[in-house]
């Protein structure tokens, strides 16, 4: 069963004068499998937060349906499966982390003993013990994010929905959130998160979906989306006779010469391997072998340009 599934999901907000605004989300159909890390990408206003709010039960869709482990998001049961971390999470300022987790534990229907166990587990995982007696109002951005992550994990949900979890964090903060996401994946959780930090997405996601103006323009494994298997390869070789270079250049898409040697851009990995084998057999040396893959950023930018 899919952890998250949406079918033709759409949302059109209304202005204060009840006029319909352009759709924020239009016909979104996607499926996130269990124990997958799914990156949800898009520019500001593309509809990422609207999707996340529909999945979390904060916003009702105008049409279509969304399911969490087969339960419609309109039902309370669906929310049993999810832990949600909003962008820039806000909590009651006058509570301490322990009181905060206790409050959310009660909302989740946990008993006193279970709530104590949750505090012990989550305060260790998120390093909250040192700040256990501080009020949330004194927290830095990174501390709030850690607390937000702990709140999302209250009740041990199977699906984590994270809205821009790395936004505004320093490199160390981002790294610790990245590590947490991977750790949660290892604990068999499904993670659905939106982000602008494409480098982080590339590092930790199994699959991504790109949303442009409310429509999903592409989704799939990152290597599939970036065409990694068929992408060209640049080979730098040196120490070859002119006739061998000429033979190799005839098979290349493009060539150039630098201090490092002869640069040959070849069609694919197989052609490049053949060229390297020939070069080495003729007494040459291999300096570099690089697959020229498109970055996720290039793909993301291209997706924006293709969309009308």
């Amino acid at each position: 069963m899919d952890a998250i599934a949406t079918q033709d999901l759409g949302k059109t907000y209304r202005s204060s004068l009840l006029r319909a605004l352009p759709p924020s989300l239009d016909g979104l159909s996607l499926a996130v499998q269990e124990n997958e890390v799914f990156g949800f990408l898009g520019r500001n206003g593309a509809g990422k937060t609207t999707t996340i709010k529909i999945l979390s039960g904060l916003v009702r869709q105008t049409h279509g349906e969304a399911y969490i482990f087969g339960d419609s998001v309109r039902k309370r049961q669906a929310r049993r499966h999810i832990g949600y971390l909003p962008e820039n999470p806000y909590f009651y300022e006058y509570l301490t982390p322990r009181e905060t987790l206790d409050f959310y534990g009660r909302l989740h229907g946990l008993g006193t003993r279970e709530r104590t166990a949750e505090w012990d587990k989550l305060s260790d995982l998120l390093d909250l013990r040192d700040i256990a007696s501080q009020r949330v109002r004194e927290f830095s951005k990174g501390m709030r994010q850690r607390l937000g992550f702990a709140v999302a994990l209250v009740g041990d949900p199977k699906v984590l929905i994270l809205d821009e979890p790395m936004s505004g964090l320093d490199p160390l903060g981002r790294r610790s959130i990245r590590e947490l996401i991977l750790r949660m994946r290892d604990e068999k959780k499904t993670i659905f998160f939106s982000s602008h930090v494409l480098g982080d997405v590339e590092q930790i996601c199994d699959r991504v979906g790109i949303l442009v103006k409310g429509k999903l323009t592409s989704q799939g494994r990152i290597d599939e989306l970036l065409g990694k298997q068929d992408s060209p390869v640049e080979v730098i070789v040196t120490g070859l006779a002119a006739d061998v270079v000429a033979e190799l250049e005839s098979k290349a898409l493009s060539t150039r010469v630098s201090e490092a040697g002869h640069h040959l851009t070849l069609q694919d990995v197989q052609t490049a391997n053949e060229a390297v084998r020939v070069a080495l057999a003729k007494g040459g040396s291999l300096v570099e072998f690089t697959q020229l893959k498109e970055s996720l950023e290039d793909h993301f930018v291209k997706a924006q340009e293709v969309s009308p």
Partner: protein, 253 residues
């Protein structure tokens, strides 16, 4: 359990609200300052103190209900604290009722404190407090519960400023509903009469909760009347809370 968690938290938050203490300070000043008017009415000072103090309990209670109540749900949406709450496996009505109960608890404590201050003051002046005095306080509290349910409805659908204006207007009109039907003769048979009659039947008659002059004068009030007034208030309160829950059910936050 979930409703209680929300209620407890609402109470805790309201207790930390400075507005509450400002209003309590003015309420205490009014109660203690009521002696000044007692001097003017020779020999009637205890009666005047009781009358003004009970009015103060009512008015300052209403001000707290309006100022805190109309921002209860709105503030949660505005400050985005609601995001991490209603994504939990709880119904939205549980949240609305939890907020309401937290406020009801706060008003109960505020009312008890103001009543104790009044009773102690009256006793120190050589007066006495009887059952009617406490029944008057009970009905004031019941009126506050009704006003709070309207404030919670407003906080689910509009901004605190507009909500406060509407609730305050309802409070004023609710205490003078008879003017809506005691119209001059030339209004008879007109649309104005019909519309005002509709308003009369929709707006609760808050005078039903006012037995302050009986309390001040030591006149007995039948328990059946108090029970009837409480039932009357409860029907309105429940209807308003149902409306608040329905209004919040499909609200995008």
């Amino acid at each position: 359990m979930r409703i209680l968690a929300v209620a407890q938290n609402t109470f805790r938050e309201a207790v930390r609200d400075k507005v509450l203490y400002v209003l309590l300070f003015f309420a205490a000043s009014t109660i203690l300052g009521s002696k000044a008017l007692g001097w003017i009415s020779i020999g009637q000072d205890v009666k005047i103190v009781k009358d003004i103090s009970l009015a103060a309990v009512s008015i300052f209670g209403v001000l707290i209900a309006i100022f805190v109540g109309t921002s209860l749900v709105y503030k949660e949406i505005d400050k985005r604290t609601i995001y991490t709450i209603i994504c939990r496996p709880m119904a939205r009505w549980e949240f609305v009722i939890g907020k309401y109960l937290g406020m009801a608890l706060l008003l109960a404590i505020v009312t008890v404190v103001m009543t104790l201050v009044t009773a102690a003051y009256v006793l120190s002046l050589g007066g006495s407090v009887d059952t009617t005095f406490f029944l008057a306080v009970l009905l004031i509290y019941w009126e506050l519960l009704l006003i709070t349910s309207l404030a919670v409805l407003m906080s689910s659908v509009t901004s605190p400023i507009l909500g406060a204006l509407i609730v305050f207007s309802a409070f004023v009109v609710g205490h003078a509903t008879t003017i809506l039907i005691d119209l001059p003769e030339h209004f008879h048979g007109t649309w104005t009469e019909f519309v005002l009659a509709c308003v009369y039947y929709v707006i609760p008659n808050l005078s039903n909760f006012n037995i302050r002059s009986e309390a001040a004068n030591g006149v007995e009030v039948a328990p059946a009347y108090v029970l009837w007034a409480m039932a009357y208030g409860s029907v309105y309160t429940i209807m308003l809370l149902v409306l608040a829950s329905l209004a919040f059910e499909d609200k995008d936050v």
